[in-house]
């Protein structure tokens, strides 16, 4: 059995999956905020409501001041934001806890976390090879892929060019293959930093 997740910090950042948990913990470490922000995963969008309810039953829940929630926009940014806000409202957190959503990849954009990463790694030396692979396999698709699916294929193609070609995205981030300093990550980086500032004056500064 893995070590169970218990709340240890006043700021909690939660992503959709175990892979996102690894990705965001790498980002938090890159920003030097590991002592202040705890990262966890809620098991996918359909489970977010139950996870937020479970969170409130945790023995150390009263220490939480800020919860940042990420989810993918997928097709429609506005629909994803409305949905996550409705779940937050329903969770009925005490007013001592601020809950702040961030819909990936960035404001008013469709897609998912992968879109940010693709934007950031598009100057990698192997990028032309990745693009040629994408063009080649697209001709074999019997049905066109969605934007998010195309981004995922793109990411897997890029991951396979790394010195550790077996890694998933979160694992690659842990091994510092993801260039978090690129401008593409700025909105996400600002969001993560704002979670900490919210514990200082109660207002997230995105």
């Amino acid at each position: 059995m893995n070590k169970l997740v218990s709340i240890e910090k006043s700021v909690l950042l939660i992503g959709e999956s175990r892979d996102e948990e690894l990705f965001f913990s790498a980002l938090v470490r890159h920003l030097g905020l590991s002592d202040l922000i705890q990262v966890a995963q809620y098991g996918g969008t359909p489970k977010l409501a139950a996870f937020l309810a479970d969170l409130q039953t945790q023995t150390t829940f009263p220490i939480i001041r800020v919860i940042g929630i990420t989810r993918d926009a997928d097709v429609k940014y506005d629909a994803a934001l409305t949905s996550v806000n409705a779940v937050i409202q329903q969770a009925n957190f005490p007013n001592t806890v601020q809950v702040v959503p961030f819909v990936l990849p960035k404001e008013n954009s469709s897609g998912a976390l992968e879109a940010l990463v693709l934007d950031a790694v598009s100057s990698a030396p192997a990028w032309p090879c990745v693009e040629r692979f994408m063009e080649c396999v697209a001709s074999n698709d019997t049905t066109p892929l969605s934007l998010t699916e195309t981004d995922k294929r793109h990411i897997h193609a890029w991951l396979s060019t790394l010195p550790d070609p077996e890694l998933r995205l979160g694992e690659a981030a842990q091994k510092k293959y993801v260039p978090f300093d690129r401008p593409a990550f700025q909105p996400l980086t600002n969001f993560v930093k704002s979670l900490v500032s919210a514990t200082e004056d109660g207002i997230p500064h995105v």
Binding site: L4, A40, Q58, T59, P94
Partner: protein
Amino acid sequence: MYDKLTVSHFRAFERLEVAPLHRVNLIAGGNNVGKTSVLEAVWLALQDNPFFVAQDNPIRLSAPSLFRRSATDNSDLAKTTQDDVDNFWKWLFYQKDISHPFSVRLESSSFPLSSQQWTFSFKDGLLGAKDSNDDVHCTLGQASSFSMTLPPPRPECTVLPACLASPVVDAERVNNVSVLNREPELAEYLRMIDPRITNLKYLKLSGHKHPYVYVDVGFGKGKELIPATQLGQGTARMLGLFASLMTEGTQILLIDEFENGLQHDALVPIWSALGKFAREHDVQIFATTHSYECIAAAHEAFSENAEDFAVIKLRPDPACGIAAFVLDHAHVDVALKTELEIR
């Protein structure tokens, strides 16, 4: 079934509401958060006289000995000592403030169960309890007094002892099951825990001082019966429990620290067997646990009867002292899958 438990000014709880209650309620939470106190509240609410001590039944425990060590001398059960007043009864009052009464209440919307409540208070140095209608008054160390109408008896509440009962006591229980011609049913429940069990018998062998339970597990060429004392501890514990449940008409079962003495791989079959019995005989179960594996096992065992099971999670709360949360199947599922600390 009871739907709601409310306690007020009791032990660590200034006020605590637990609802909705389920068929099987597994109480979790950190150390000293009040898990065992919830069992005590349920037990107290269901007593015809919460101070009553059965002189003729050494198995039936009194309140101070239910889940905690008591100084009461078992050879003198009927006598209430000042030790128990000072070391047990006074500690039931929130913050040991005996000037303020405490109450325990179970509510039910299922006929024929009715809501049960006791309110306890000290008056003139004596601890007393009265029911919600003020029909019954009990005083520690004295007989009950009733109004003109005697209230109906409260549901039978059984406590599973933390340690194994004497094999002689278990043998008598199995004998009582035999009298009711329900041995095959008992064997069926035990087979869910140990599939080798095909039959069991209450036998007094020549030269032995006591009768014991012997079990057919297909041992050896001659299929010799083996003493139940030689079964695994989990099976032996459940033998006594199922036998007493079948003969005592239990409606409420209380188990403190469910996982005690049980192997992890025995937890799922034991929960399955208990759940089946509870459904078939309309028993409601309240148990406490410290164990993640115990919660996961119960969740697995009740996967096909999800509406029967919930985890009651207790945690400290800045606003109300201790808060209770009822986690149904979907919530437990997410907590387990995301490896949240659910204990």
